[in-house]
Protein backbone atom coordinates (compact mmCIF):
# COMPACT_ATOMS: atom_id res chain seq x y z
CA UNK A 1 0.00 0.00 0.00
CA UNK A 2 2.61 2.48 1.13
CA UNK A 3 4.76 1.54 -1.82
CA UNK A 4 2.06 2.16 -4.39
CA UNK A 5 1.25 5.43 -2.66
CA UNK A 6 4.88 6.42 -2.93
CA UNK A 7 4.88 5.45 -6.57
CA UNK A 8 1.80 7.56 -7.25
CA UNK A 9 3.34 10.55 -5.49
CA UNK A 10 6.51 10.12 -7.49
CA UNK A 11 4.50 9.85 -10.68
CA UNK A 12 2.46 12.96 -9.91
CA UNK A 13 5.64 14.82 -9.00
CA UNK A 14 7.27 13.82 -12.27
CA UNK A 15 4.26 14.85 -14.29
CA UNK A 16 4.04 18.25 -12.60
CA UNK A 17 7.75 18.78 -13.02
CA UNK A 18 7.64 17.93 -16.69
CA UNK A 19 4.58 20.14 -17.03
CA UNK A 20 6.42 23.16 -15.61
CA UNK A 21 9.39 22.35 -17.80
CA UNK A 22 7.18 22.16 -20.83
CA UNK A 23 6.08 25.66 -19.94
CA UNK A 24 9.51 27.08 -20.43
CA UNK A 25 10.01 29.32 -23.44
CA UNK A 26 12.79 28.79 -25.91
CA UNK A 27 14.48 31.45 -27.95
CA UNK A 28 17.65 31.75 -29.93
CA UNK A 29 19.42 34.08 -32.31
CA UNK A 30 21.48 37.26 -32.06
CA UNK A 31 24.57 36.96 -29.89
CA UNK A 32 24.98 40.74 -29.62
CA UNK A 33 22.30 41.06 -26.87
CA UNK A 34 23.19 37.63 -25.39
CA UNK A 35 24.54 38.93 -22.05
CA UNK A 36 21.59 41.23 -21.35
CA UNK A 37 18.98 38.59 -22.24
CA UNK A 38 20.79 36.20 -19.91
CA UNK A 39 20.59 38.70 -17.05
CA UNK A 40 16.92 39.46 -17.77
CA UNK A 41 15.85 35.81 -17.97
CA UNK A 42 17.69 35.02 -14.72
CA UNK A 43 16.02 37.93 -12.89
CA UNK A 44 12.65 37.06 -14.43
CA UNK A 45 12.99 33.50 -13.17
CA UNK A 46 13.76 34.78 -9.67
CA UNK A 47 10.78 37.11 -9.75
CA UNK A 48 8.16 34.91 -11.42
CA UNK A 49 9.51 31.32 -11.52
CA UNK A 50 8.97 31.32 -15.27
CA UNK A 51 11.82 29.77 -17.18
CA UNK A 52 13.00 31.38 -20.38
CA UNK A 53 15.90 29.94 -22.32
CA UNK A 54 17.80 32.07 -24.78
CA UNK A 55 20.71 30.64 -26.75
CA UNK A 56 22.88 33.22 -28.52
CA UNK A 57 23.60 31.41 -31.80
CA UNK A 58 23.65 34.34 -34.21
CA UNK A 59 21.06 36.48 -35.96
CA UNK A 60 20.95 34.35 -39.09
CA UNK A 61 20.29 31.22 -37.08
CA UNK A 62 17.58 33.07 -35.16
CA UNK A 63 15.75 34.07 -38.33
CA UNK A 64 16.12 30.57 -39.73
CA UNK A 65 14.83 28.81 -36.64
CA UNK A 66 11.85 31.11 -36.12
CA UNK A 67 10.92 30.78 -39.80
CA UNK A 68 10.90 27.02 -39.36
CA UNK A 69 9.03 27.48 -36.05
CA UNK A 70 11.67 25.59 -34.09
CA UNK A 71 11.66 28.13 -31.24
CA UNK A 72 9.12 30.34 -29.46
CA UNK A 73 10.93 33.58 -30.24
CA UNK A 74 14.10 34.67 -31.95
CA UNK A 75 16.57 37.51 -31.67
CA UNK A 76 18.03 39.34 -34.67
CA UNK A 77 20.33 42.33 -34.96
CA UNK A 78 19.23 42.77 -38.52
CA UNK A 79 15.66 44.07 -38.68
CA UNK A 80 13.49 42.37 -41.26
CA UNK A 81 11.66 44.55 -43.75
CA UNK A 82 7.84 44.53 -43.38
CA UNK A 83 7.56 42.55 -46.63
CA UNK A 84 9.87 39.80 -45.34
CA UNK A 85 7.99 39.71 -42.03
CA UNK A 86 4.72 39.21 -43.86
CA UNK A 87 6.15 36.42 -45.97
CA UNK A 88 7.55 34.60 -42.94
CA UNK A 89 4.46 35.47 -40.84
CA UNK A 90 6.36 37.19 -38.03
CA UNK A 91 5.91 40.06 -35.62
CA UNK A 92 8.91 42.20 -34.72
CA UNK A 93 9.85 44.75 -32.08
CA UNK A 94 13.15 46.15 -30.71
CA UNK A 95 14.37 44.98 -27.30
CA UNK A 96 17.49 46.91 -26.43
CA UNK A 97 20.12 49.16 -27.99
CA UNK A 98 23.82 48.38 -28.06
CA UNK A 99 26.84 49.93 -29.67
CA UNK A 100 29.87 48.99 -31.68
CA UNK A 101 33.28 50.42 -30.87
CA UNK A 102 36.46 50.64 -32.91
CA UNK A 103 39.07 48.97 -30.74
CA UNK A 104 42.75 49.16 -31.62
CA UNK A 105 46.20 47.96 -30.64
CA UNK A 106 48.81 50.65 -31.26
CA UNK A 107 51.83 51.02 -28.99
CA UNK A 108 51.63 54.17 -26.90
CA UNK A 109 48.07 55.11 -27.87
CA UNK A 110 45.73 54.73 -24.91
CA UNK A 111 41.98 54.32 -24.61
CA UNK A 112 40.06 57.24 -26.14
CA UNK A 113 43.18 58.98 -27.45
CA UNK A 114 42.79 58.09 -31.09
CA UNK A 115 40.32 60.34 -32.94
CA UNK A 116 38.84 58.93 -36.11
CA UNK A 117 37.09 61.26 -38.50
CA UNK A 118 34.39 59.88 -40.78
CA UNK A 119 36.83 60.10 -43.68
CA UNK A 120 39.45 58.20 -41.66
CA UNK A 121 37.08 55.34 -40.77
CA UNK A 122 36.06 54.99 -44.41
CA UNK A 123 39.70 55.15 -45.56
CA UNK A 124 40.87 52.53 -43.06
CA UNK A 125 38.13 50.00 -43.81
CA UNK A 126 38.25 50.49 -47.58
CA UNK A 127 42.04 50.17 -47.63
CA UNK A 128 42.65 53.70 -48.96
CA UNK A 129 44.68 54.48 -45.85
CA UNK A 130 47.20 51.67 -45.47
CA UNK A 131 49.50 53.08 -42.77
CA UNK A 132 48.71 54.58 -39.39
CA UNK A 133 50.54 57.82 -40.18
CA UNK A 134 48.41 58.39 -43.29
CA UNK A 135 47.42 62.01 -43.70
CA UNK A 136 43.70 61.38 -43.26
CA UNK A 137 44.25 59.82 -39.81
CA UNK A 138 47.16 62.00 -38.66
CA UNK A 139 45.27 65.22 -39.39
CA UNK A 140 43.04 64.80 -36.35
CA UNK A 141 45.75 63.29 -34.14
CA UNK A 142 48.54 65.86 -34.20
CA UNK A 143 49.44 65.20 -30.55
CA UNK A 144 49.84 61.42 -31.06
CA UNK A 145 52.85 59.65 -32.48
CA UNK A 146 51.27 57.27 -34.94
CA UNK A 147 53.67 54.65 -36.30
CA UNK A 148 54.55 54.27 -39.95
CA UNK A 149 53.22 50.72 -39.89
CA UNK A 150 50.61 49.03 -42.04
CA UNK A 151 47.07 48.85 -40.63
CA UNK A 152 45.54 45.42 -40.11
CA UNK A 153 41.75 45.41 -39.88
CA UNK A 154 40.10 42.77 -37.70
CA UNK A 155 36.71 41.64 -38.98
CA UNK A 156 34.19 38.84 -38.42
CA UNK A 157 34.72 35.46 -40.08
CA UNK A 158 31.07 34.50 -39.61
CA UNK A 159 27.97 36.25 -40.86
CA UNK A 160 26.98 38.66 -38.19
CA UNK A 161 24.44 41.26 -37.19
CA UNK A 162 27.29 43.31 -35.74
CA UNK A 163 28.89 43.42 -39.18
CA UNK A 164 25.53 44.32 -40.71
CA UNK A 165 25.17 47.32 -38.39
CA UNK A 166 28.79 48.36 -38.81
CA UNK A 167 28.67 48.20 -42.62
CA UNK A 168 25.42 50.19 -42.42
CA UNK A 169 27.44 52.94 -40.71
CA UNK A 170 30.26 52.63 -43.28
CA UNK A 171 27.67 52.91 -46.02
CA UNK A 172 26.50 56.22 -44.51
CA UNK A 173 30.08 57.48 -44.82
CA UNK A 174 30.71 56.25 -48.33
CA UNK A 175 28.12 54.48 -50.41
CA UNK A 176 30.66 52.26 -52.11
CA UNK A 177 30.50 50.10 -48.95
CA UNK A 178 27.91 47.35 -49.25
CA UNK A 179 25.64 46.77 -46.26
CA UNK A 180 26.08 43.11 -45.53
CA UNK A 181 26.34 40.52 -42.77
CA UNK A 182 29.56 39.30 -44.37
CA UNK A 183 30.98 41.67 -46.96
CA UNK A 184 34.13 41.21 -49.02
CA UNK A 185 36.68 43.53 -47.46
CA UNK A 186 38.92 45.46 -49.84
CA UNK A 187 41.61 46.57 -47.35
CA UNK A 188 45.00 44.94 -47.98
CA UNK A 189 45.55 43.44 -44.52
CA UNK A 190 42.51 41.69 -43.12
CA UNK A 191 42.24 39.11 -40.35
CA UNK A 192 38.93 37.49 -39.55
CA UNK A 193 37.83 35.94 -36.26
CA UNK A 194 34.71 34.04 -35.29
CA UNK A 195 32.28 36.03 -33.11
CA UNK A 196 33.06 39.13 -31.03
CA UNK A 197 35.49 37.18 -28.88
CA UNK A 198 37.49 36.01 -31.90
CA UNK A 199 37.80 39.55 -33.26
CA UNK A 200 38.78 40.87 -29.81
CA UNK A 201 41.46 38.19 -29.48
CA UNK A 202 42.87 39.15 -32.88
CA UNK A 203 43.01 42.82 -31.91
CA UNK A 204 44.79 41.94 -28.68
CA UNK A 205 47.31 39.78 -30.52
CA UNK A 206 48.06 41.80 -33.61
CA UNK A 207 50.05 45.00 -33.33
CA UNK A 208 48.73 47.98 -35.29
CA UNK A 209 45.32 46.42 -35.79
CA UNK A 210 41.86 47.94 -35.51
CA UNK A 211 38.52 46.19 -35.48
CA UNK A 212 34.84 46.61 -34.67
CA UNK A 213 33.44 44.90 -31.59
CA UNK A 214 30.50 45.19 -29.30
CA UNK A 215 31.00 47.69 -26.46
CA UNK A 216 30.74 45.09 -23.67
CA UNK A 217 33.78 43.23 -25.06
CA UNK A 218 35.84 46.41 -24.99
CA UNK A 219 34.84 46.88 -21.34
CA UNK A 220 35.43 43.28 -20.35
CA UNK A 221 38.86 43.04 -21.99
CA UNK A 222 39.96 46.62 -21.37
CA UNK A 223 40.72 47.27 -25.04
CA UNK A 224 41.41 50.86 -26.09
CA UNK A 225 38.74 52.30 -28.38
CA UNK A 226 38.64 55.34 -30.62
CA UNK A 227 36.59 58.52 -30.54
CA UNK A 228 34.48 58.59 -33.66
CA UNK A 229 33.23 61.65 -35.48
CA UNK A 230 29.44 61.80 -35.55
CA UNK A 231 27.04 63.29 -38.05
CA UNK A 232 27.42 66.77 -36.55
CA UNK A 233 31.21 66.66 -36.87
CA UNK A 234 31.93 66.10 -33.17
CA UNK A 235 34.36 63.46 -31.90
CA UNK A 236 32.56 61.27 -29.38
CA UNK A 237 33.96 58.76 -26.93
CA UNK A 238 32.02 55.50 -26.66
CA UNK A 239 30.27 55.81 -23.28
CA UNK A 240 26.87 54.85 -21.96
CA UNK A 241 25.79 58.52 -21.99
CA UNK A 242 26.73 59.02 -25.62
CA UNK A 243 24.87 55.78 -26.52
CA UNK A 244 21.79 56.99 -24.66
CA UNK A 245 21.93 60.30 -26.48
CA UNK A 246 22.13 58.40 -29.75
CA UNK A 247 19.19 56.12 -28.91
CA UNK A 248 16.88 59.14 -28.49
CA UNK A 249 17.06 59.84 -32.19
CA UNK A 250 15.93 56.42 -33.32
CA UNK A 251 12.79 56.69 -35.39
CA UNK A 252 10.62 53.70 -34.76
CA UNK A 253 7.04 53.36 -35.85
CA UNK A 254 4.72 50.51 -35.00
CA UNK A 255 3.09 50.38 -38.44
CA UNK A 256 6.44 49.33 -39.94
CA UNK A 257 6.92 46.72 -37.20
CA UNK A 258 9.56 49.13 -35.88
CA UNK A 259 11.76 48.51 -38.92
CA UNK A 260 14.70 50.89 -38.58
CA UNK A 261 18.46 50.74 -38.65
CA UNK A 262 19.45 53.36 -36.09
CA UNK A 263 23.12 53.77 -36.96
CA UNK A 264 24.59 57.25 -37.49
CA UNK A 265 21.92 59.26 -35.64
CA UNK A 266 21.60 63.04 -35.33
CA UNK A 267 22.58 64.93 -32.19
CA UNK A 268 25.78 66.69 -31.16
CA UNK A 269 26.49 64.28 -28.31
CA UNK A 270 25.42 61.05 -30.02
CA UNK A 271 27.93 58.25 -30.50
CA UNK A 272 27.49 57.32 -34.15
CA UNK A 273 27.78 53.51 -34.29
CA UNK A 274 24.75 52.26 -32.39
CA UNK A 275 22.49 49.34 -33.19
CA UNK A 276 19.16 48.05 -32.00
CA UNK A 277 18.47 44.38 -31.64
CA UNK A 278 15.08 42.89 -32.39
CA UNK A 279 12.74 40.13 -31.26
CA UNK A 280 10.79 38.04 -33.76
CA UNK A 281 7.54 36.23 -32.93
CA UNK A 282 5.48 33.80 -35.00
CA UNK A 283 2.11 35.45 -35.72
CA UNK A 284 -0.03 32.35 -35.26
CA UNK A 285 1.16 31.25 -31.80
CA UNK A 286 -0.92 33.64 -29.72
CA UNK A 287 -0.55 31.83 -26.39
CA UNK A 288 3.21 31.52 -26.34
CA UNK A 289 3.54 35.03 -27.78
CA UNK A 290 1.60 36.35 -24.80
CA UNK A 291 4.09 34.68 -22.50
CA UNK A 292 7.02 36.15 -24.42
CA UNK A 293 5.57 39.66 -24.40
CA UNK A 294 4.85 39.30 -20.69
CA UNK A 295 8.54 38.64 -20.19
CA UNK A 296 9.61 41.64 -22.26
CA UNK A 297 6.99 43.80 -20.56
CA UNK A 298 8.60 42.80 -17.27
CA UNK A 299 12.09 43.42 -18.64
CA UNK A 300 11.12 46.86 -19.97
CA UNK A 301 9.81 47.74 -16.50
CA UNK A 302 12.53 46.15 -14.36
CA UNK A 303 15.54 45.46 -16.56
CA UNK A 304 16.93 48.91 -17.34
CA UNK A 305 19.54 48.80 -14.64
CA UNK A 306 20.95 45.39 -15.50
CA UNK A 307 21.05 46.44 -19.16
CA UNK A 308 23.07 49.60 -18.42
CA UNK A 309 25.36 47.67 -16.10
CA UNK A 310 26.23 45.40 -19.00
CA UNK A 311 26.87 48.29 -21.39
CA UNK A 312 23.54 48.33 -23.24
CA UNK A 313 21.10 51.19 -23.57
CA UNK A 314 17.49 50.59 -22.50
CA UNK A 315 14.89 51.73 -25.02
CA UNK A 316 13.48 55.22 -24.48
CA UNK A 317 10.17 55.28 -22.59
CA UNK A 318 8.13 56.38 -25.63
CA UNK A 319 9.43 53.45 -27.63
CA UNK A 320 8.53 51.01 -24.87
CA UNK A 321 5.00 52.44 -24.77
CA UNK A 322 4.74 52.17 -28.53
CA UNK A 323 5.82 48.52 -28.33
CA UNK A 324 3.24 47.74 -25.64
CA UNK A 325 0.60 49.31 -27.86
CA UNK A 326 1.85 47.26 -30.81
CA UNK A 327 1.38 44.08 -28.76
CA UNK A 328 -2.17 45.15 -27.91
CA UNK A 329 -3.16 45.87 -31.50
CA UNK A 330 -1.73 42.51 -32.58
CA UNK A 331 -3.60 40.79 -29.76
CA UNK A 332 -0.51 39.30 -28.16
CA UNK A 333 -0.40 41.21 -24.93
Amino acid sequence: MTFSKLLTTALVATVTLTATNADELKGRGASFPGPVYKAWTADYFKATKNQINYTPTGSGDGIKSITKRMVDFAGSDKPLKPKALKKKKLFMFPAVVGSIVLAYNIDGVKDGELKLSRAAVAAIFSGKATNWDDEVIAKENKDLKLPHEPITIAVRADKSGTTFNFTYFLNQLDDSFKVSKKPTWTAPKVVAGKSNSGVSANIQQIKNSIGYIEYSFKEKLGLPAAQVENKEGKFINPTLESFQDAAKYAEWTADQDFYAVIGDPKGETSYPIVAATFILLPTEKVDTNKKVTKFFDWAFANGDKSASDLGYVPLPKETKDAIRKYWETKGIK
Binding site: T57, G58, S59, G60, D61, K64, T152, A157, D158, K159, S160, K178, V179, S180, K181, K182, T184, W185, K189, V190, V191, A192, G193, K194, A201, N202, Q205, I206, K207, S209
Partner: protein
Protein backbone atom coordinates in the same frame (compact mmCIF):
# COMPACT_ATOMS: atom_id res chain seq x y z
CA UNK B 1 23.61 -19.34 -27.50
CA UNK B 2 25.95 -16.75 -26.03
CA UNK B 3 28.42 -17.40 -28.80
CA UNK B 4 25.81 -16.82 -31.49
CA UNK B 5 24.66 -13.63 -29.82
CA UNK B 6 28.19 -12.36 -29.69
CA UNK B 7 28.76 -13.29 -33.30
CA UNK B 8 25.64 -11.40 -34.39
CA UNK B 9 26.57 -8.42 -32.28
CA UNK B 10 30.05 -8.12 -33.70
CA UNK B 11 28.72 -8.63 -37.22
CA UNK B 12 26.22 -5.84 -36.58
CA UNK B 13 28.94 -3.50 -35.30
CA UNK B 14 31.12 -4.19 -38.27
CA UNK B 15 28.41 -3.61 -40.85
CA UNK B 16 27.17 -0.52 -38.98
CA UNK B 17 30.43 1.34 -39.59
CA UNK B 18 30.19 0.46 -43.27
CA UNK B 19 26.64 1.80 -43.48
CA UNK B 20 27.58 4.99 -41.64
CA UNK B 21 30.34 5.59 -44.17
CA UNK B 22 28.03 5.04 -47.13
CA UNK B 23 25.29 7.04 -45.39
CA UNK B 24 27.50 10.07 -44.82
CA UNK B 25 28.72 9.97 -48.40
CA UNK B 26 25.22 9.82 -49.85
CA UNK B 27 23.98 12.63 -47.58
CA UNK B 28 26.88 14.86 -48.58
CA UNK B 29 26.29 14.00 -52.22
CA UNK B 30 22.55 14.62 -52.17
CA UNK B 31 22.77 17.86 -50.15
CA UNK B 32 25.45 19.13 -52.51
CA UNK B 33 23.17 18.56 -55.53
CA UNK B 34 21.92 22.17 -55.86
CA UNK B 35 25.45 23.49 -55.87
CA UNK B 36 26.68 20.73 -58.17
CA UNK B 37 23.95 21.60 -60.69
CA UNK B 38 24.48 25.35 -60.38
CA UNK B 39 28.28 25.49 -60.54
CA UNK B 40 29.46 22.04 -61.68
CA UNK B 41 33.23 21.66 -61.85
CA UNK B 42 33.72 25.42 -62.30
CA UNK B 43 33.20 25.50 -58.54
CA UNK B 44 36.75 24.25 -58.10
CA UNK B 45 38.26 27.20 -59.95
CA UNK B 46 36.06 30.07 -58.78
CA UNK B 47 37.27 32.51 -56.12
CA UNK B 48 33.97 34.22 -55.24
CA UNK B 49 32.01 33.35 -52.11
CA UNK B 50 29.15 35.76 -51.74
CA UNK B 51 25.59 35.26 -50.64
CA UNK B 52 22.99 37.42 -52.33
CA UNK B 53 22.01 40.29 -50.03
CA UNK B 54 18.33 40.35 -50.87
CA UNK B 55 17.65 36.67 -51.12
CA UNK B 56 19.92 34.69 -48.85
CA UNK B 57 18.95 31.48 -50.59
CA UNK B 58 20.99 32.57 -53.61
CA UNK B 59 24.48 33.77 -54.36
CA UNK B 60 27.71 32.89 -56.12
CA UNK B 61 30.04 30.40 -54.51
CA UNK B 62 33.37 28.89 -55.49
CA UNK B 63 35.77 26.66 -53.67
CA UNK B 64 39.13 27.66 -55.14
CA UNK B 65 40.43 29.70 -52.17
CA UNK B 66 39.63 27.21 -49.40
CA UNK B 67 40.97 24.39 -51.58
CA UNK B 68 44.26 26.20 -52.15
CA UNK B 69 44.42 27.19 -48.46
CA UNK B 70 43.88 23.60 -47.37
CA UNK B 71 46.55 22.29 -49.72
CA UNK B 72 49.14 24.95 -48.88
CA UNK B 73 48.73 24.66 -45.10
CA UNK B 74 48.98 20.87 -45.41
CA UNK B 75 52.09 21.08 -47.59
CA UNK B 76 53.81 23.43 -45.12
CA UNK B 77 52.92 21.08 -42.26
CA UNK B 78 54.21 18.01 -44.11
CA UNK B 79 57.47 19.66 -45.15
CA UNK B 80 58.22 20.57 -41.54
CA UNK B 81 56.86 17.46 -39.86
CA UNK B 82 58.29 14.68 -42.04
CA UNK B 83 62.02 15.15 -41.33
CA UNK B 84 61.39 15.85 -37.64
CA UNK B 85 59.22 12.76 -37.23
CA UNK B 86 61.78 10.61 -39.04
CA UNK B 87 64.48 11.96 -36.71
CA UNK B 88 62.42 11.16 -33.65
CA UNK B 89 61.71 7.62 -34.83
CA UNK B 90 65.32 6.88 -35.71
CA UNK B 91 66.48 8.34 -32.40
CA UNK B 92 64.05 6.19 -30.47
CA UNK B 93 64.79 2.93 -32.28
CA UNK B 94 68.52 3.17 -32.88
CA UNK B 95 70.28 5.93 -31.02
CA UNK B 96 68.61 6.64 -27.70
CA UNK B 97 69.86 5.07 -24.51
CA UNK B 98 67.44 2.59 -22.93
CA UNK B 99 66.59 4.98 -20.08
CA UNK B 100 65.59 7.71 -22.55
CA UNK B 101 63.32 5.67 -24.80
CA UNK B 102 60.40 5.43 -22.42
CA UNK B 103 60.11 9.09 -21.33
CA UNK B 104 60.50 10.39 -24.89
CA UNK B 105 57.94 7.90 -26.22
CA UNK B 106 55.47 8.89 -23.52
CA UNK B 107 55.99 12.58 -24.22
CA UNK B 108 55.26 12.00 -27.89
CA UNK B 109 52.16 9.97 -27.17
CA UNK B 110 50.91 12.68 -24.81
CA UNK B 111 51.48 15.27 -27.51
CA UNK B 112 49.13 13.27 -29.72
CA UNK B 113 46.48 13.27 -26.98
CA UNK B 114 46.22 17.06 -26.66
CA UNK B 115 42.87 18.28 -28.06
CA UNK B 116 43.25 20.52 -31.11
CA UNK B 117 41.48 23.48 -29.48
CA UNK B 118 44.39 23.70 -27.06
CA UNK B 119 46.86 23.86 -29.92
CA UNK B 120 44.67 26.60 -31.39
CA UNK B 121 44.65 28.72 -28.25
CA UNK B 122 48.31 28.21 -27.56
CA UNK B 123 49.03 29.06 -31.18
CA UNK B 124 46.98 32.24 -31.17
CA UNK B 125 48.01 33.69 -27.83
CA UNK B 126 51.59 32.51 -27.53
CA UNK B 127 52.95 31.31 -30.83
CA UNK B 128 51.39 33.83 -33.27
CA UNK B 129 53.17 36.86 -31.71
CA UNK B 130 56.48 34.99 -31.96
CA UNK B 131 55.81 34.24 -35.62
CA UNK B 132 54.90 37.89 -36.17
CA UNK B 133 58.17 39.16 -34.77
CA UNK B 134 60.14 36.53 -36.67
CA UNK B 135 58.48 36.65 -40.10
CA UNK B 136 56.37 39.83 -40.08
CA UNK B 137 52.77 39.74 -41.25
CA UNK B 138 49.86 39.51 -38.87
CA UNK B 139 50.94 36.63 -36.68
CA UNK B 140 47.97 34.60 -37.84
CA UNK B 141 48.21 33.32 -41.37
CA UNK B 142 49.18 30.41 -43.58
CA UNK B 143 52.64 29.87 -42.10
CA UNK B 144 51.55 29.91 -38.46
CA UNK B 145 48.73 27.49 -39.23
CA UNK B 146 51.13 25.22 -41.11
CA UNK B 147 53.73 25.16 -38.34
CA UNK B 148 51.18 24.39 -35.61
CA UNK B 149 49.66 21.71 -37.86
CA UNK B 150 53.14 20.22 -38.19
CA UNK B 151 53.49 20.07 -34.41
CA UNK B 152 50.12 18.33 -34.24
CA UNK B 153 50.91 15.60 -36.78
CA UNK B 154 54.49 14.87 -35.71
CA UNK B 155 53.45 12.46 -32.92
CA UNK B 156 51.35 10.34 -35.32
CA UNK B 157 54.07 10.12 -37.87
CA UNK B 158 56.80 9.47 -35.32
CA UNK B 159 54.83 6.76 -33.53
CA UNK B 160 53.91 4.77 -36.65
CA UNK B 161 57.39 5.13 -38.12
CA UNK B 162 58.96 4.01 -34.84
CA UNK B 163 56.72 0.94 -34.74
CA UNK B 164 57.62 -0.02 -38.28
CA UNK B 165 61.33 0.55 -37.64
CA UNK B 166 61.09 -1.68 -34.61
CA UNK B 167 60.04 -4.55 -36.88
CA UNK B 168 63.42 -4.62 -38.63
CA UNK B 169 64.91 -7.99 -37.61
CA UNK B 170 68.01 -7.71 -35.45
CA UNK B 171 69.74 -10.29 -37.65
CA UNK B 172 69.72 -7.87 -40.58
CA UNK B 173 71.15 -5.02 -38.56
CA UNK B 174 73.75 -7.19 -36.89
CA UNK B 175 74.92 -8.63 -40.21
CA UNK B 176 75.37 -5.12 -41.54
CA UNK B 177 77.36 -4.08 -38.52
CA UNK B 178 79.43 -7.26 -38.85
CA UNK B 179 80.28 -6.22 -42.40
CA UNK B 180 81.73 -3.01 -40.98
CA UNK B 181 78.82 -0.66 -41.74
CA UNK B 182 78.56 2.52 -39.67
CA UNK B 183 75.41 3.41 -37.74
CA UNK B 184 74.44 5.91 -40.42
CA UNK B 185 74.86 3.32 -43.15
CA UNK B 186 72.75 0.82 -41.25
CA UNK B 187 69.97 3.40 -40.85
CA UNK B 188 70.19 4.48 -44.48
CA UNK B 189 70.65 1.12 -46.18
CA UNK B 190 68.96 -1.39 -43.88
CA UNK B 191 66.36 0.22 -41.66
CA UNK B 192 64.92 2.80 -44.07
CA UNK B 193 64.41 0.41 -47.02
CA UNK B 194 62.99 -2.31 -44.76
CA UNK B 195 60.41 -0.05 -43.11
CA UNK B 196 59.64 2.00 -46.23
CA UNK B 197 56.02 0.87 -46.37
CA UNK B 198 55.35 1.90 -42.82
CA UNK B 199 57.06 5.25 -43.22
CA UNK B 200 55.09 6.19 -46.32
CA UNK B 201 51.93 4.93 -44.64
CA UNK B 202 52.57 7.17 -41.63
CA UNK B 203 53.14 10.18 -43.86
CA UNK B 204 49.88 9.60 -45.68
CA UNK B 205 47.88 9.09 -42.49
CA UNK B 206 49.31 12.32 -41.09
CA UNK B 207 48.41 14.01 -44.35
CA UNK B 208 44.82 12.90 -43.90
CA UNK B 209 44.72 14.37 -40.44
CA UNK B 210 46.30 17.67 -41.52
CA UNK B 211 43.75 18.06 -44.32
CA UNK B 212 40.78 17.79 -42.00
CA UNK B 213 42.05 19.67 -38.97
CA UNK B 214 39.53 22.35 -38.09
CA UNK B 215 39.74 23.95 -34.68
CA UNK B 216 43.44 24.81 -34.45
CA UNK B 217 43.54 26.03 -38.03
CA UNK B 218 40.40 28.14 -37.53
CA UNK B 219 42.22 30.03 -34.80
CA UNK B 220 45.39 30.50 -36.77
CA UNK B 221 44.82 30.80 -40.50
CA UNK B 222 43.06 34.18 -40.37
CA UNK B 223 39.80 32.99 -42.02
CA UNK B 224 39.94 35.49 -44.87
CA UNK B 225 38.69 34.64 -48.37
CA UNK B 226 41.82 35.59 -50.29
CA UNK B 227 44.59 33.89 -52.19
CA UNK B 228 47.76 34.28 -50.10
CA UNK B 229 50.58 36.15 -51.87
CA UNK B 230 53.10 35.50 -49.11
CA UNK B 231 53.33 32.63 -46.65
CA UNK B 232 52.46 34.99 -43.80
CA UNK B 233 49.19 36.11 -45.45
CA UNK B 234 45.85 35.11 -44.01
CA UNK B 235 43.66 32.77 -46.03
CA UNK B 236 41.09 30.07 -45.26
CA UNK B 237 40.72 26.31 -45.59
CA UNK B 238 37.78 23.99 -46.26
CA UNK B 239 37.14 22.86 -42.65
CA UNK B 240 37.59 26.42 -41.35
CA UNK B 241 35.15 27.86 -43.86
CA UNK B 242 32.61 25.17 -42.97
CA UNK B 243 32.97 25.75 -39.22
CA UNK B 244 32.64 29.52 -39.50
CA UNK B 245 29.65 29.62 -41.81
CA UNK B 246 27.51 26.62 -40.98
CA UNK B 247 25.18 28.21 -38.46
CA UNK B 248 24.21 31.10 -40.72
CA UNK B 249 24.10 29.65 -44.21
CA UNK B 250 20.93 28.96 -46.17
CA UNK B 251 19.93 27.51 -49.54
CA UNK B 252 22.64 27.52 -52.15
CA UNK B 253 25.39 28.55 -49.71
CA UNK B 254 24.58 25.57 -47.51
CA UNK B 255 24.60 23.30 -50.55
CA UNK B 256 27.96 24.73 -51.63
CA UNK B 257 29.35 23.96 -48.19
CA UNK B 258 28.17 20.38 -48.58
CA UNK B 259 29.95 20.38 -51.94
CA UNK B 260 33.18 21.46 -50.18
CA UNK B 261 32.62 18.84 -47.50
CA UNK B 262 32.15 16.23 -50.21
CA UNK B 263 35.45 17.23 -51.84
CA UNK B 264 37.24 16.97 -48.51
CA UNK B 265 35.59 13.63 -47.78
CA UNK B 266 36.59 12.15 -51.13
CA UNK B 267 40.17 13.45 -50.90
CA UNK B 268 40.69 12.23 -47.33
CA UNK B 269 39.05 8.92 -48.15
CA UNK B 270 41.27 8.43 -51.19
CA UNK B 271 44.40 9.31 -49.25
CA UNK B 272 43.65 6.97 -46.40
CA UNK B 273 42.67 4.15 -48.76
CA UNK B 274 45.97 4.49 -50.59
CA UNK B 275 47.84 4.42 -47.30
CA UNK B 276 45.92 1.42 -46.02
CA UNK B 277 45.72 -0.79 -49.06
CA UNK B 278 48.96 0.01 -50.77
CA UNK B 279 51.63 0.92 -48.24
CA UNK B 280 50.52 -0.34 -44.84
CA UNK B 281 49.16 -3.52 -46.46
CA UNK B 282 52.47 -4.31 -48.12
CA UNK B 283 54.28 -4.44 -44.81
CA UNK B 284 52.06 -7.24 -43.50
CA UNK B 285 52.64 -9.53 -46.49
Amino acid sequence: MGGKLFKNFSFFSATLSFFILVGIFSILFSYAQDSLHEFGFDFLGSEVWEADEDDEELGVFGGYIPLVGTMLSTVIAMVIATPLAMGIAIFLTEIAHKTLIKPVSIAIELLAAIPSIIYGMWGLFYFAPIMQSAFGGNGVGLLTAGVVLAIMIIPFMAAITRDSMNTVPDVLKESAYAMGATKFEVIKDVIMPYSKGGIIGSIILALGRALGETMAVAFLIGSVMQIPNKVTDATTSIPVLLANNFSEAEGLEMSSMYYLALILFVVSFAIISIAKFYFLGKKVK
